[in-house]
């Protein structure tokens, strides 16, 4: 397929997944802000922006991190390339370009999200509850994903969509976990406290994984269990292990269809080996934040490899 087409498909997936994460972030933020803040905490909303790497562009435009401004910035602001509005618009635009590579169901799902977004943008903000907005995003993200899984031909385009999804999801899970790092500066006396656990379970809830977590682990919510669940557990749909395995799988299918391997397959396997070889103890020894930062960098490097080989059209 045309490299440009593969690139558009890949970005449809990345944008949809990113919008989903931004909605979840908003939910984490608003829940964390519902508990009383204590001395030694940064503003929770600020932490959230720090973790997503958007703090600077926010400060430039809005100044203080007030909840309403953050909502505007993360949801409606077209100047913020990662806002829900930007992501849904970009995903639909990419879809429009490659209409012929999509089924009408997938196009419908993308287009409906976009049309409803336009209606939301015309609705007075006072009528929009944050929880309604975040539900709305997750519903549409799921509809697009479902349409892809249910109707699309399992060809290379399908693989590039999935590569986009797994890459973005792995990166986002790492960033969501990192919110915790920023919220709770490494003050040892908080670890294991009631507050600490509350924040961890908020994170789980935002990822829609609270019940799954309890089924899988039972007992108290601890940092170690959560790290295991979100990083190492291949049953968890958002864990770094699941995402790395998904990348290896879909890149392997591409290599098989094209009859040759590239640097992208190599990097994906290295990423998976790294996650599979890790233990919770080792991760905490290294420092959770340091570990996540490393994962985010490795995953960005893999993205570059995928771009250079398949998406840029420079392959010879």
């Amino acid at each position: 397929m045309l490299s440009r087409t593969a690139d558009n498909l890949y970005w449809i997936a990345r944008y949809m997944e990113r919008a989903d994460t931004v909605a979840r972030l908003l939910e984490v933020g608003s829940r964390i802000s519902l508990i009383p803040s204590a001395h030694g905490y940064r503003s929770e909303w600020d932490s959230l922006l720090q973790a997503t790497g958007m703090a600077e562009s926010f400060a430039k435009k809005y100044g203080d991190p007030v909840q309403r401004n953050i909502e505007s910035f993360l949801f409606f602001d077209h100047d913020n390339p990662s806002s829900v509005a930007s992501c849904f618009t970009a995903a639909r635009e990419n879809g429009r370009i490659v209409r012929t590579a999509l089924t009408s169901q997938v196009w419908d799902a993308l287009n409906t999200a976009f049309q409803e977004l336009k209606a939301l943008e015309r609705t007075p903000r006072s009528e929009l509850e944050l929880s309604r907005l975040t539900d709305w995003v997750m519903r549409h993200a799921a509809m697009v994903r479902g349409a892809i899984d249910a109707t699309l031909l399992r060809n290379d385009g399908f693989n590039f969509l999935n590569i986009g999804y797994y890459l973005e999801r792995g990166d986002n899970t790492a960033r969501l976990m990192d919110v915790k790092y920023y919220v709770l500066l490494p003050r040892v006396d908080f670890v294991g406290s009631g507050l600490d656990n509350y924040q961890w379970s908020t994170l789980l809830r935002a990822m829609g994984a609270q019940r799954a977590f309890h089924w899988a682990y039972g007992g108290d919510v601890t940092a170690a269990k959560i790290a295991d669940f979100l990083i190492l557990n291949p049953q968890s749909p958002r864990s770094l292990a699941t995402c790395a395995a998904g990348l290896v799988n879909h890149l392997a299918r591409v290599a098989k269809a094209y009859g040759r391997e590239t640097v992208a397959q190599e990097k994906a396997r290295a990423l998976l080996a790294e996650v599979e070889g890790a233990t919770v103890e080792a991760i905490f020894d290294e420092g959770l934040h340091e570990y996540l930062t490393r994962f985010i960098a490795d995953s960005a490097d893999l993205a570059l490899g995928i771009h250079d080989t398949y998406l840029s059209g420079e392959m010879r």
């Binding site: 045309l2 635009e93 370009i97 287009n111 590039f160 094209y258 059209g313």
Partner: protein, 469 residues
């Protein structure tokens, strides 16, 4: 001005429309509104919209669709078809000639300056004969009707005529909404178009291509107002839809960038202008286009449809001479007539035009889309005078024609059903063979009395039926 109503003659109904009389009589107002809304929803859903240049506004605007079909009998169509194919052959013969020996000019049948000094004449392809001697592979001929047996060609489109997606989608939607109509009337199908187009394009593969040629459609991109059409045709033909950035030249061939590495391209159905094909050859400032493409083209490594330079045949000043081309190259009498045309560049013609300006239609020689034209009888004195000044300033840029009494077809309007003026654009395919699907694009001027059918000027479209014998 007496106008020809294609359906009603006095109190009678002309035979091709016989069954539509009952159909429309049996449709209550509520059902009609319902169907109209359904049609609009279908159009929006498939994403067929039209962006109007220079008007801003909604890029996702729909072209209005009118559900009342326009009908031709088998006999009417048979004559049109012969005339259209004849014209398409003559236009291509003319193109081969003017980029070759120029016999028609030597014979004094058309002034050389009209051809060689024409902006659309590409010196870069002089002496080159494209595969099968075809320059214009899709010829869109705009035809108007003024009586039962009177058809006139308004203009020829030899470059990249658009609108065929409306022909295809209008039919799809009509069949979906009114299946009974298609059972009761024997209507020739149009959905063979994409297959015929693919065959036509494949038949003009370059000489260096062995085996099954790889065909692509080259689009300016998704911001183009006809992007939907480009993607529909690519989809229906099962070929890649590429942009300039997807193609490159290496060695003797043109290639596309794919996830598996370069893949050779043999035939390019381009939907971009000549000027944007190759910055090395035409416009060094262009971001669009494929550097080196023209060299590959001239050495037989790739075919470009329509061929660069085809535009010189559909220029509005050259148009006047098309009947002459039919006689000269084919030795036949033209089946379809031209509209009488005055060239403002000629002193006598100019004098006449300025005298009769309020009665005439005046167009720019290179204009399209209904922009920059004057419809004398529909304009105020002021508008006429302003246009007069423009003509005097640059007479060579204008042609004038009498205001024709365009035929009308019943159309659904606010108050019910009323006659509205229409034209017709069939799409003639020229490759190894000349083919024409029975149908075309009928454009309708939705404003009462209006003669401008261009979609950019508020025109709509209708499904066009050709009845089987």
């Amino acid at each position: 001005m007496a106008q020809f109503n294609e359906m009603y003659q006095g109190t009678g109904v002309r035979p091709p429309y016989a069954r539509l009389d009952d159909w429309v009589a049996a449709m209550p107002q509520e059902l009609r509104s319902l169907k109209q809304a359904e049609a609009e929803a279908l159009f929006r859903r498939i994403g067929i919209t039209f962006a109007v240049y220079g008007e801003g506004g909604d890029p996702d605007r729909l072209i209005p669709f009118d559900m009342f079909p326009r009908v031709f009998s088998a006999a009417e169509w048979a004559k049109l078809e012969k005339g259209i194919k004849q014209r398409a052959r003559a236009l291509n013969a003319f193109l081969v000639d003017v980029y070759g020996r120029g016999e028609i000019i030597r014979a004094g049948r058309i002034p050389g300056r009209l051809v060689y000094q024409n902006e659309a004449y590409e010196k870069a392809v002089a002496g080159f004969v494209p595969p099968k001697g075809v320059y214009s592979h899709i010829v869109g001929i705009d035809i108007v009707r003024t009586g039962p047996d009177e058809f006139f060609v308004l203009e020829d489109n030899c470059r990249t005529p658009s609108g065929v997606s409306y022909m295809l989608e209008s039919r799809e939607i009509m069949m979906r909404m009114f299946p009974d109509l298609f059972r009761e009337n024997r209507i020739e199908p149009v959905d063979g178009y994409s297959e015929k187009l693919r065959r036509t394009l494949a038949s003009v593969a370059p000489k260096k291509c062995k085996g099954e040629p790889t065909v692509v459609i080259l689009t300016p991109g998704h911001f183009n107002s006809a992007y939907y059409e480009h993607s529909l045709l690519a989809d229906l033909m099962g070929v890649e839809l590429v942009e300039g950035q997807d193609l490159f030249v290496d060695g003797e061939y043109c290639w596309m960038r794919t996830t598996e590495g370069p893949r050779r391209v043999d035939v390019i159905y381009r939907r971009i202008d000549d000027a944007y094909l190759d910055p090395l050859c035409f416009r060094p400032d262009s971001m669009l286009g494929i550097p080196g493409l023209m060299d590959v083209y001239r050495s037989g490594g790739v075919s470009i449809c329509s061929a660069p330079g085809a535009g010189v045949a559909d220029d509005k000043a050259v148009y006047t001479y098309v009947p002459e081309m039919v006689r000269f190259y084919l030795g036949e009498e033209p089946i379809l007539n031209n509209v009488p045309t005055w060239q403002c560049g000629k002193a006598d013609d100019l004098k006449y035009v300025l005298e009769k300006l309020p009665e005439l239609v005046v167009k720019e020689v290179h204009g399209s889309g209904g922009y920059g034209m004057l419809v004398g009888p529909k304009c105020s004195r002021d508008e006429v005078e302003r246009f007069r000044a423009k003509i005097v300033e640059n007479p060579g840029n204008y042609i004038a024609q009498p205001t024709l009494a365009l035929s009308s077809v019943p159309t659904f309007v606010e108050e019910g059903v009323a006659p509205r003026h229409v034209d017709l654009r069939p799409y003639c395919l020229v490759g190894e063979r000349i083919e024409l699907v029975p149908g075309g694009l009928t454009r309708v001027a939705l404003k009462e009395g209006s003669l401008v059918v261009n979609s950019s000027q508020g025109g709509g479209v209708k499904d066009t039926w050709v009845l089987a014998e």
